[in-house]
């Protein structure tokens, strides 16, 4: 059943798309601190509050550490909490990111990806969110402003699902998405409000021996995030891993349900295959770079080159089965990393994709291309060169340089 809902087309940049989605999602609290290139999100949302367009409690905190703490605290009372940050702001939240996921607080956060200092740089790369990939947060990387909008709406449903109960980061490339104006289709307020619904609270056993809704409430007192030492800490961590596994299905279900309403979908929600079904050479990347890669794939396909793209949309939880399945015919694979893992023998996406492929039946050649650090532009010509490298690898059956740098002056 396809949608017949009339959608408005707005000219929004990625940040505005985030703020608009949050505005429609019946958020109880936004606690945030502005930082480039996320600032527009906070500015825009505070305008909604000042104009009386939302009933959200807006808390101007003195730091990102406090912003995340306030969101966590609000979420443990059963409230719907949202925030946004970037780069150093995310790094300052580091401690509280783990507390939030450990307290199973379904906070939703947009991260306008930006490089980490030093040298100081305000432009886009994935250093900030890749450094938090083990923080217990779901990570979704969007390709364009439309997907940013759609992903934020979906994120509340994913985070708050009782089988998941994990915080979600929606990642958008700094400036490339955060500050670039696009046509964005937005659903009517009532449709989003209905889709997101009210927060569901699972039942938990409290210290009084009662079963109560999982929230801090004087009527049913409970302790959240208590001390757990050698005897129980491990069990709580295992629960979080299980929640991540559950999230794989929930992310797909929410995405599919949203597709029914909006008539928009992004692959299977976990990965998006583009001309990869019969591809011999393929690129894997995250975020907005996929748009450039798709353009190059179209040109190569017109030249009868069996080139494809696999965009990982959901990086946490990592869609292991989906990656293996999608790359069935690929013989040479380039993994693009917009972050570097110093001394780690390649970037984080490369590590994980190579790790996933170890359990595949067939093993393609896998090479790593580190690119776009500090917002350096990556052109279609550079992407084409990567595909040519892959063709050469297939011809020579030899990988000369497994880890390469795109657009770097040697």
């Amino acid at each position: 059943m396809k949608s017949v809902i009339k959608q408005e087309v707005l000219a929004l940049n990625g940040d505005e798309a985030v703020a608009y989605a949050a505005k429609q999602s019946d958020v109880d609290i936004v606690a945030a601190y502005p930082i480039t290139p996320q600032t527009i999100i906070v500015e825009k949302f505070s305008e909604y509050v000042a104009n009386g367009e939302v009933e959200t409690e807006f808390v101007c905190t003195e730091s990102e550490h406090s912003a995340m703490t306030a969101c966590l605290a609000a979420a443990t009372t059963g409230a719907r909490a949202f925030t946004a940050t970037a780069s150093a702001g995310l790094a300052l939240m580091h401690e509280m990111l783990f507390v939030t996921s450990g307290c199973r607080a379904p906070v939703v956060m947009a991260v306008a990806n930006r490089a980490l200092s030093a040298p100081i740089n305000i432009h886009g790369d994935h250093s900030d969110t890749m450094a938090e990939r083990d923080s217990g947060w779901i990570q979704i990387y969007a390709e364009n402003a439309q997907e940013v909008y759609d992903s934020v709406v979906q994120a509340f449903r994913i985070a708050e699902n009782p089988e998941v109960l994990l915080p979600v980061m929606v990642c958008l490339d700094g400036f490339t998405l955060s500050h670039t104006l696009e046509n964005v289709n937005v659903l009517p307020d009532t449709v989003v409000e209905k889709f997101v619904g009210t927060r569901q609270l699972p039942q938990v056993l409290t210290h009084e021996g009662k079963t109560a809704s999982f929230k801090l409430d004087p009527e049913n007192p409970m302790t959240v995030g208590s001390i757990a030492l050698q005897n129980y800490y491990f069990e709580f961590k295992r629960q979080q891993e299980e929640a991540m596994r559950n999230a794989l299905n929930v992310i797909k279900q929410v995405h599919d349900e949203y597709a029914q309403v909006s008539d928009r979908s992004y692959g299977d929600a976990l990965v998006e295959s583009y001309c990869v079904d019969d591809a011999e050479i393929a690129i894997i990347c995250l975020g907005s770079t996929a748009g450039t890669v798709k353009t190059v794939v179209d040109k190569l396909r017109a030249e009868d080159v069996k080139a494809g793209l696999l965009r990982i949309r959901t990086f946490r939880p990592l869609p292991v089965k989906e990656i293996i399945k999608a790359l069935g015919t690929v013989k040479a694979l380039a993994v693009m990393d917009r972050a570097i893992s110093f001394g780690g023998n390649g970037g984080p996406v490369y590590h994980e994709v190579r790790h996933v492929l170890y359990s595949a039946d067939k093993h393609p050649y896998v090479v790593n291309y580190i690119y776009g650090l500090g917002g350096r532009d990556t052109s279609p010509e550079q992407i084409r060169k990567i595909y040519e490298d892959l063709q050469r690898i297939l011809q020579t059956q030899h990988v000369k340089t497994p880890i390469q740098y795109v657009g770097l002056r040697e």
């Binding site: 450990g102 307290c103 199973r104 607080a105 109960l165 699972p202 938990v204 056993l205 409290t206 210290h207 009084e208 999982f214 409970m222 302790t223 959240v224 995030g225 208590s226 001390i227 757990a228 005897n231 129980y232 491990f234 069990e235 709580f236 295992r238 629960q239 299980e242 929640a243």
Partner: protein, 92 residues
């Protein structure tokens, strides 16, 4: 740890306690134990108020205080605050 410890599938999420903290006895943490001189003690209840763990109780029926050694961690604050120096910390 008398009862069987639960598996990760059986416990509430997020460190939510399924039993009250009073079931976790912490008295064995102490090295020094408060010993009271009944002659010197005036039952002023300073120790009851100052005990950070609520481990000293006023028993009105006895007209006296009582140390709860299941929770007293031997911090010595009671001895320090006692106006008549009626409490001495002794090695257990």
């Amino acid at each position: 740890m008398t009862a069987r410890e639960k598996s990760w599938k059986e416990i509430s999420p997020a460190g939510v306690c399924w039993k009250p903290s009073t079931e976790f006895l912490t008295g064995d943490w102490k090295t020094y134990k408060p010993v009271r001189d009944l002659e010197k003690c005036t039952r002023c209840l300073f120790c009851v108020l100052f005990c950070p763990d609520g481990a000293i109780h006023w028993r009105p029926e006895k007209g006296d205080i009582e140390f709860d050694f299941n929770f007293c961690k031997g911090c010595g604050i009671c001895a320090n605050e006692c106006p008549t120096k009626a409490i001495e910390m002794k090695l257990e």
